[in-house]
């Protein structure tokens, strides 16, 4: 029989004590938060976590985030570098789930396939008090079954679930109707797992160094580069890999290259990954790729980039160092030129072209 107790300002202390008892003995608790009702179990107790996964019909291997009392305690469960730490201190407590590399001190079942863990420091005193007194992380998944929407009141949730599910719940803490805040925003703070290439990783016969002092000059260098390359390689499929930080001038260089083919209106393809343009009414294509948003190698499988390596086609790849394994394939099927743009100061960029 599931017990229900009511959370009010007077009852906080007593409620927390009861919840602590249930969590310590491996129980499942429904508890309010700053967003929606959550399902709480001891995140270090394997049996309890399994019970939670069974309750949610969640296939194993899918991550579940954890409530943590404060930023300092986060460090006991995930690795945080200095920069990430500054970010966290600005946003937490708040309605964010921060995804970071796990240091494997919680149940492995809670981590993602990539070994990351979501941590959550909610802007909600009862949960913070609970997490702090418990001294261990507590699961922070929303009270709903896989695929359906989260709940803002106990009644709406209880009505949705079967008796068998109800029997799995040990304690319900009812705080009435919660304000309809959205579930937390998941922020992925882990670095991309895509292996990046350095120009030293690949051997080139020749390299030219240029200096640019303006966006216009970078465009001109791009146009002249293209002119030289067409002379040299003719109709062979050509790939120009562009490496350089945000704001270095990669898109400007691409504009210059496109301008050689009289293609105008080049806009950033960051969001869609690539745009294709027809080259002067021919069947050939100019493909402008931007791998900035690519996080995992597996994404390449669905992009079909290699299909463009045909005679007459020209491909410019911004953040091309992220091509990783694909780079070797590109080298086999096309002529590849590796261009690196380096920021030196506001009005100067060093551009290295490797053939």
């Amino acid at each position: 029989m599931t017990r229900t107790i009511t959370l009010s300002t007077q009852s906080i202390k007593q409620v927390i004590n009861e919840v602590l008892q249930v969590l310590s003995s491996g129980g499942l608790v429904i508890f309010p938060s700053d967003t929606v009702y959550g399902l709480l179990v001891d995140a270090t107790n394997e049996e309890a976590v399994k019970k939670l996964i069974e309750f949610k019909n969640r296939p194993p291997g899918k991550a579940i985030s954890v409530f943590v009392a404060d930023l300092n305690s986060c460090k006991k469960y995930v690795s945080i570098n200095q920069k990430q730490s500054a970010v966290l201190s600005k946003l937490l407590p708040g309605p964010f789930t921060m995804v970071l590399p796990s240091i494997h001190t919680v149940q492995k079942l809670l981590e993602s396939e990539k070994g990351t863990l979501g941590v959550r420091v909610p802007d909600f005193q009862p949960v913070l008090q609970l997490a702090s007194s418990f001294g261990k992380p507590i699961t922070a998944t929303s009270a709903n079954l896989g695929g359906s929407s989260p709940h803002y009141s106990i009644d709406s949730f209880i009505h949705q679930i079967s008796q068998a599910k109800k029997d799995l719940i040990d304690l319900i803490v009812d705080a009435g109707k919660l304000p309809r805040n959205k579930p937390s925003t998941v922020l992925d703070l882990t670095e991309s797992t895509v292996k990046t290439l350095r120009s030293g990783d690949i051997s080139f016969e020749k390299s030219n160094v240029y200096q640019s002092h303006s966006a216009q000059e970078t465009q001109n260098i791009g146009r002249e580069l293209m002119q030289g390359l067409t002379k040299k390689y003719g109709q062979k499929p050509l790939v120009i890999v562009l490496k350089g930080d945000l704001g270095a001038g990669k898109t400007e260089m691409t504009r210059g290259i496109a301008d050689y083919f009289e293609i105008e209106k080049i806009i950033s393809p960051t969001f869609v990954v690539y745009y294709e343009y027809a080259i002067c009414d021919s069947k050939s294509k100019f493909v402008h790729v931007d791998l900035y948003n690519i996080q995992e190698e597996v994404e390449f499988v669905h992009l079909g980039l290699s299909d463009y390596l045909k005679p007459g086609n020209v491909m410019v790849v911004e953040w091309g160092e992220k091509l990783g394994k694909l780079y070797a394939e590109f080298q086999k099927k096309a002529e590849v030129v590796f261009v690196e743009i380096m920021y030196e100061r506001e009005t100067r960029r060093k551009i290295i072209v490797n053939y």
């Binding site: 500054a86 946003l91 789930t97 898109t251 950033s268 960051t270 745009y275 343009y277 995992e296």
Partner: protein, 377 residues
């Protein structure tokens, strides 16, 4: 009585034609449309009738949970081919319909990622052949333009179309100002020459050390300092005489600012940097929209796209438009701001009313850089 005053009658008829108390008339003859949108990384399918969405399913409703406890164990975005059948089936089931009850199929054919668009188009052709029903090809940007008029299954909100309107479409992939003259009649006033507004916000967030998505983070940091604009970053093209946008230079300005700061200073100033950057983007959007209102004399404004969920943008835009004596419309449900098939279905409803079906399925091809002008009738 109008017969005696022909000009007035003419005027009246014109006015009438502009007021679409369309819900009822639409409902009577409204077709049941299966709509597919795979323009980028969202596999989305909806079933609509008139302006009502009977069901809407997108893979990321699950994909959000893919990392966080989902149903299908693949993490790759844009894996449309693997997902499309599943999402179509789910949309039909949710609408309690089978394929046979579908009158036509709507599909996005651009702008977007070529290989992603192809999956949706291929699926639409397949379904069209199997049930012998026609296809309606829709421009993804039309969808965003119509998104404030999408209704839930109960027919809410009742908001009616008002023509002409000015549409501001702001997302991670697009930034454009459109004159929405009448159903399916568009004129592009201006668009971005480089980065989209949402992209600029995301990249700024990344430069400040935040993960993805950057928009909500900047919004929150900015609100912590009351959206102050301490750094006064340049607003590129704000003084230009046209309605074009450019956000690439703004990104570079932030880069230069960060280069001259120490790590410690940056961390201390995160909120102000975020806020000033966001203000630079939003003030530009506001100023250009205001100019468009003044120059065209049109005072209905529609705002669509992912960036339009930002509360700061909503509040300031609303204040500006109201001060101009105009009215402003946003999508009524959050999912409509992002890429979704529901809005594509609503455009298809209007296209069906105009008899704009694709005559030969073989002629549909993806158009990665499709412009709204190409879809204007």
């Amino acid at each position: 009585m109008f017969e005696r005053i022909p000009e007035l009658a003419q005027k009246f008829r014109l006015l009438r034609s502009r007021v679409y108390t369309s819900t009822n008339t639409l409902m009577k003859k409204a077709k049941t449309i299966l709509a597919i949108d795979t323009s980028c990384d969202e596999t989305s399918v909806a079933v609509v009738r008139g302006r009502c969405v009977l069901s809407h399913v997108e893979y990321s409703q699950i994909a959000m949970h893919v990392k966080w406890g989902g149903v299908v164990p693949s993490i790759a975005r844009r894996a449309h081919e693997e997902r499309i059948d599943w999402v179509v089936q789910k949309a039909l089931t949710k609408a309690r319909l089978d394929l046979q009850s579908i009158d036509c199929i709507a599909v996005t054919y651009g702008p977007g990622l070529a290989i992603a668009l192809e999956v949706g188009i291929k699926k639409a052709k397949e379904i069209s052949q199997s049930i012998k029903k026609p296809i309606i090809a829709v421009n993804h940007m039309e969808g965003h333009l119509y998104s404030p008029f999408v209704q839930n299954s109960k027919g809410n909100p009742k908001t009616d179309f008002k023509f002409p309107s000015i549409g501001l479409l702001v997302s991670g992939g697009h930034t454009e100002l459109v004159l929405f003259k009448d159903h399916l009649v568009y004129e592009i006033l201006g668009e971005t020459r480089d980065d989209a507004a949402g992209e600029a916000l995301d990249k700024a967030a990344r430069m400040l050390g935040f993960g993805y998505p950057g928009g909500p983070v900047l919004e929150r940091l900015a609100s912590q300092v009351n959206n102050q604009d301490m750094y006064r970053f340049p607003r590129p093209m704000i003084g230009s005489n046209d309605f074009e946008f450019s956000f690439s230079g703004l990104k570079t300005a932030l880069l230069y600012k960060l280069k001259e700061m120490t790590e410690e200073e940056k961390n201390k100033e995160l909120q102000n940097l975020a806020s000033s950057f966001q203000e630079a983007v939003f003030q530009t959007l506001m100023k250009k929209t205001k100019k468009a209102m003044m120059q065209t004399g049109v005072n209905h404004v529609l705002v669509g796209g992912g960036v339009a969920v930002n509360k700061r943008l909503k509040t300031t835009m609303r204040a500006m438009v109201t001060a101009q004596g105009g009215s402003i419309f946003f999508p009524s449900f959050k999912y409509l701001n992002f890429d979704n098939a529901a809005m594509i279905g609503i455009v298809a409803t209007i296209r069906a009313e105009h008899g704009l079906y694709v005559k030969d399925d073989d002629t549909i091809d993806r158009e990665p850089r499709l412009s709204l002008l190409q879809s204007s009738i």
